[in-house]
Symmetry: C3
Subunit: 662 residues, 3 copies
């Protein structure tokens, strides 16, 4: 694993550049990402390029031995460009044209925008495609940030109509797929179809789903154009994009299919404050972040690109500026997050940013350095990791990627279906995937998060927390698998068109589950169901309840609601869960399935997480107390030597990490 | 009472229709509502009508012995229509044109829309007006659903100006009625008057009230046009419209004046989740609905049409899709709700819908059948009612309508006044009417909910929970009545123009009340007043406080606030209440008034409600425990035989019903 | 001190005017404000003036011996005017044109509006500028009410560009000041700059700050135009404007610089319900208002105009109509508020309004009279004050203004900076100023609230709760002062352009503080820090934490967080606070500083406040229990006579006031 950093030479006097580069190299940084927001400096006026400053910046970094991740600057089209082509500007869900003055104000469907993006990307690729310092590329920056995937511009509407025409061939097919006979929504031509906005009440769900599919495809197409330009002008250098956390605006698997490396931007504290965590969790994890936020995304993005290449492109170095509350990391957390990324197989962990900018929207976002160039706490911790990496050497760089026995399937279109039809106001499928993932991790299990098209053959256990639609192809691979399967509530509840399946939920999963769902209900806050297992274990469920009906004698009811109805079914190796379980409930179901799969779930100390990578085992402690844990002896090799501690204390230190080699 | 169902033949293969009809008939269904959303199938292209399928559907139902409620399909104008006449589309309160893609996107004031509505309604009426299967008509569907009464379109503005001109004659009269001298709002002509939207702070309340009056009149005029067409082409068949629950967007008494039958759409579970109930109530009644939601509306809509004809046009059959949380009814509730409607005098209870649609916005809304045609739990309960109805026979169908001794006056313009000037953020006049109604019902009293123009002579007790404006005519009828009167807070607080009355509240009710209101205040959450009666009974009040001043020695203070000031006054037979009482407080006030009226209030078991209809007494149990209750012996006829139990257990079963004949 | 009242003769039959005037005079009222909303009556049609009614009204009041505060009527441009000049209408933040039908719908930047405002103001000034009854003027009414300072109209955009051009000279300077290199926001000309609205995510903070500065300057320029007209036509009569409570839409010090008298509109109960108070505080102070709301503004507005002239122009007389909940004042509070204003130096307390209007938006806003002319409770209390004022005579009118030893600096641009970049969702700088002020008042200290340009030489203690930017000039005056200084969190955290200062916070205050801020964080609700002083005193902090670093041995850590880090530093006479303290914390810090300043902080009974004005000491009791307090004996004059009680009881009565002369 290497360390990296995000750097904005255009923000700083040129006199600082050489010293910056030297300090980066000195603390162990090896790669530097630049230029993703620099369009107005690269092309200050229409058609007039100013490469000189960027050439010098690249040269300065190169001279210090640093590799460069060069970016296309398309996240921030400059003012002169949008004034020349006003159709570049996206339109919001309220129909209003977006204003200039922040970022991501362009519409992915704008014809002008596509042409201008190709033009600037080609210019950058031509200039630096062969530069020896350039070790990788990044397309654009954080596609979809600030909810910018959907646009209601005229170009977007026109493109949507053409997309529908291509998908359905005939408008009759569209009418069938959307069920437009409902409420007299029938269309006579594709040109009658509008975007599903501004309606009196919710628009047709299939219409909405197709809009999201279309918009996702537009992102993928935009990215593909950039990748093709970069591959043409910079062959042999990997192309990446930096994805975001808990973001589902487009199908990341589709975009990643065109990339060599998936990267993501890891802000554990900001995500803890801004997402679905309870007020109690927001306080408890205020200065460490919820332990599973980084891991969830590490495992998700490791599953994106062929070969599992992934980086953390932006690592939180201290307080940020954009969350509702912006806490400071506890001492040690910047280092701990870095090692946690290593434990999950990161090639690079790149801090955002080198030096806190004293101006603009992110002036309260810290960096490794303060604006006055004094090293900030995060900078000291990064330097410590740099020293440790150098000391540990090949033991780490040679370690293979994690090879978990457990797969969790995360399917973007299924998430969209649940977001479009939550049916209960607090049914958030992303949270559900996270909670299930967290329960697996609390059991000490390593997890791959994979898409619905992933090969599943090698897993001993496969969990589908929110698989609203299961395509035949996926069902077939699940059926052919020998793994223990765990199906969450709403599994198979929808067809590909977001309709109720002909035989009802779980649709094509019915044979595997050995069950049907008679009806479903969502439960208001405070309405909880008590579940009881045959052996007396109990847990509770809320938010959702599938009324499960076993369809044969092979189906065993392993847990029941208070009224005796099934809460968890087992049909051979398939475990079907009726509701949104609490933490204990998920651990019970998943622990049982793991044991049936031959795995060894364990009860980790609260706030400790473990990860395995080849012969290495990493333990990270997210609490402020030392915690006792060590790798179990290998029963199959009783004479094996005890684990060797490569880093850290025998008791895992507060906000610390310990690494063993077994 | 008959059973009915809502059916959408256009949603299903024609091959299913005959079997559907046979199954309907088999479970006791007698009437079927169709076609209210079928415009795009009836007229798939401008001017080209396709009657064939609908003819066959009608014939199929007719052949099975089912009566048909035919609808005008105006709730869902098709895409080609709004494309041809864009002025049909309503404009929202934000000024934006509404989009196509859901329903109710038309503006009631659009001239094009009125003409097109007449055209399609005439076509349907001509086609089926004389068909022997058609037993009744429904105009449109749920006027105002999704807050669609108000539109800010140019046509609406123009129509509003003409409406004002007609109401006021001169702009000087308008200026006086609105008090436009306040803040220099004076107008010099009707054409200077805009719609009261987009203002920097709240618009003139009288202006807002007149806009609501105008918009209500537009709904009534629209409906009247449809009724006239139907009466012309289908004489002798009753015309109905299906109203909604807790909806006050227009004056239902005005619309109902043109109808033969008032129907409403009863979704007890959805209403419990989406309206003003506390989080605790939402959990407690999650699977039964609050007991008084159906009854409140049954009694309201029984008071709409001459002769008291009313139906439940849509009865919740299971979980719905549109509430924030969508729970499943407890076993027995679909049957219990049906019998509860019978107890209140319904002619028909019609389930919505026959079979759950697998597509479109309501695909998660259950029906009597699942999408795969398997009978859903609600279908089994409907069939049970069908069998019970057949078994009970004439005892029920001969029973006269309820004849309550208690009237609760619900006046839409008064509700609008309170909504426009709540004065306290939680002063919801609809909730107040409901809470007062609920207290009456908890005392075992039957209630008529009547409009302000209703004949009041036969009531022993009249309750006006939220009568902000009392017209002279109403005051006169109250004065002539011998009933015990109960006036809620804010009674008589406004003139017809939404001004403060010359002598202050309670305005024209002052003589009856024997009191004046010195000043009023609204109270923030947590500020409660303790009330004490002379005999030591206590209760509490919140949200509102009228500072009552007795105006003569005839006025007795029967309950006081902690500071000694009057909380409840009695002036002869008139009881005046200063605040928003808690449940105990309302039961105390209403119980005292009922006893003074010669009625016999009782304390029912919690969660049990009783209703009387001629010699029949119905008890419905909304809890999951059996409850003991039976009709009291008749003191005036000591030798009368004991009540005969027609249905149900001696102890009213959980979620069950018992019917006695006395 | 004199009493006044706001009166709207245009609302009432002329027959009532003489009696109204007589009753006003009889209860001790001396000045009457009129005509601020009367444009449509003064100029009912374009160019046609109707002065007759207003002449008669003025004459009637004059004849009764009442002085008149005449107003320019620009808060309510009439319909014919905005129809003739649609560009007068402001545009909202959503870009939509504001509607007519309430008030303040004009755009300060509209050229037409400026011209029309000058025209009508000149007409009024010419008419009444020399009238003997006119004792003062008011410009417009409540600038900015209903958030009307910012407008997005084309005129506003054009004026903003010119304002920027004037401020920066070159667009390069603007680019530097805003840091537009960030996110490629660079501009090539001033005409490329838009208003910072409609962006995908937050616009550039410096851009936003300049928009607020510009809009504030537009208000000041508008006011200045009016003042110049009034001074020209009515020389020698003071000009005032009535400011609002807790309002920061423009820099009040800038507007007040052109005025002779600052007035404000005091609604203690409405402010308690509508601002930042906790639910518990909203209940506790529901009928008295938080004790420090009036005082905070009295002390703020006394600091506005040269010579400290200030009035309460609108004093709450009973329940109002515009708060979320509108409670009634406890008996005595209208009188107590009036005396509290006297205690802080008010020249006039003017009740709003004489008689409750029965129509229009404020028909639920009470007055001294009810609509039926019966005296309301507030009227009786006003009359009592009138009698008391007459009885007390010169003792009060001769009393000098308060001369507090403590100054609290309130700087509007600093507040804007914190509002633009709160960094934590609950970081409200206005609340912080208020909480600090409240702690000072609970210690029995008198306070001047001053702007950043005020002379500071005479203060023994200066508190800067939210001084995000400290200009060199202010820093210099602080350095030259001998006062104890208390710096709140975020002091000096921003440059004038809303950038991070070169050496980080506290910027130019670093030498005074003897400290630097290493990093900052905001804390989510529930995350509190415990602070411990060396002597064991404890308090807690929340919301914010500056990580303070002492920069020399002269800097003493006087309180620490649980982790040992500094929470309060002292560097000589400068006290620096890291966080948002609780009430106990602020009292500790401020009490220590006050003692170091030679002041005598005391612990007042809860709910009692004291104020000194020359030899007079006022105590106001905001509770419903009598409270014991009396002025301390003067140690320096042991033989001085005991304080003489001029008004009130020895024990301060519930909702009462006691005045002593020492």
């Amino acid at each position: 694993m290497q360390l990296g950093v995000c750097y904005y030479p255009e923000h700083w006097p040129e006199a600082l550049w050489a010293d910056d580069a030297a300090r980066m190299a000195a603390i162990g940084i090896r790669v530097v990402r630049i230029a993703e927001f620099a369009w107005s400096r690269i092309e200050p006026e229409p058609g007039r390029f100013d490469w000189a400053w960027l050439d010098r910046a690249v040269q300065t970094l190169h001279a210090a031995g640093l590799g460069i991740v060069m970016c296309t600057p398309t996240a921030t089209p400059p003012k002169w460009l949008v004034d020349a082509h006003p159709d570049i500007l996206a339109h919001g869900l309220d129909g209003r044209v977006r204003g200039f003055g922040s970022r991501r104000h362009s519409c992915f469907s704008s014809r002008s925008w596509r042409a201008e993006s190709r033009r600037i990307s080609t210019a950058v690729a031509e200039r630096y495609g062969q530069h020896p310092a350039v070790v990788a590329w990044q397309t654009d920056n954080e596609y979809g940030c600030h909810d910018t995937v959907l646009s209601t511009s005229p170009d977007a509407r026109a493109a949507f109509r053409r997309w529908l025409e291509k998908r359905y061939g005939s408008v009759a097919a569209l009418n069938r797929a959307w069920g437009t006979v409902f409420w007299s929504q029938e269309y006579r031509s594709f040109d009658e179809v509008d975007l599903p906005v501004g309606t009196v009440t919710e628009a047709n769900p299939s219409h909405r789903l197709d809009w999201r599919r279309f918009a996702s495809d537009e992102v993928a197409a935009f990215n593909r154009e950039q990748v093709q330009i970069l591959r043409r002008h910079s062959p042999g250098r990997p192309v990446s994009h930096n994805f975001m956390g808990f973001f589902t605006g487009f199908d990341h698997h589709d975009v990643a299919a065109d990339l060599d490396i998936a990267t993501w931007d890891s802000y554990p504290l900001g995500f803890t404050q801004d997402f679905f965590f309870s007020p109690q969790e927001k306080v408890r994890w205020a200065r460490t972040g919820h332990p599973d936020i980084p891991a969830f995304h590490h495992d998700l993005y490791r599953g994106m690109c062929a070969g599992g290449r992934w980086w953390v492109m932006e690592q939180q170095p201290g307080p940020v500026n954009w969350a509702r509350w912006n806490t400071a990391p506890a001492d040690g957390m910047v280092r701990a997050w870095t090692w946690q990324a290593c434990a999950h197989g990161a090639e690079v962990v790149s801090y955002f940013r080198w030096r806190q900018a004293p101006f603009g929207q992110e002036q309260m976002h810290t960096g490794l350095l303060r604006p006055d160039s004094v090293t900030a706490p995060g900078g000291h911790e990064a330097a410590q990791v740099g020293r440790e990496l150098q000391a540990l050497g090949p033991a780490l760089t040679d370690a293979p990627l994690p090879q978990p026995a457990v797969a969790l399937v995360l399917d973007y279109p299924s998430l969209w279906m649940a977001q479009i039809q939550p049916q209960g106001a607090d049914y958030d499928p992303v949270e559900l995937c996270f909670r299930v993932y967290s329960a697996l991790r609390a059991l000490g299990l390593d997890v791959d998060i994979v898409g619905p098209h992933a090969a599943l053959g090698r897993y001993a256990m496969i969990v589908l927390p929110a698989q609203l639609h299961a395509a035949d192809d996926l069902v077939q691979r699940l059926a052919q698998s020998a793994a223990q399967l765990v199906l969450g509530p709403r599994a198979g509840a929808k067809t590909v068109d977001l309709q109720w399946p002909a035989d009802g939920p779980p649709g094509a999963l019915a044979d595997l589950a050995g069950a049907r769902v008679g009806r479903v209900e969502s439960l208001p806050p405070g309405l909880t169901e008590t579940l009881t297992w045959d052996d007396g274990r109990q847990a509770s469920a809320s938010r959702w309840r599938d009324h499960l009906e076993p369809t044969g004698e092979q189906t065993v009811t392993v847990a029941r609601h208070a009224d005796g109805s099934p809460a968890v079914l087992r049909h051979g190796r398939v475990h079907t869960v009726a509701g949104w379980l609490d933490e204990a409930g998920w651990q019970t179901v998943l622990g049982d399935a793991a044991r049936a799969a031959g795995l060894r779930p364990q009860t980790l100390p609260e706030g400790l997480r473990i990860s395995r990578r080849g012969a290495l085992t990493f333990a990270v402690n997210f609490t402020d107390q030392p915690l006792s844990w060590r790798p179990a002896a290998d029963d199959s090799a009783p004479d094996a030597p005890p684990p060797e501690r490569l880093l850290g204390e025998e008791q895992v230190a507060p906000q610390g990490v310990t690494i063993w080699r077994t």
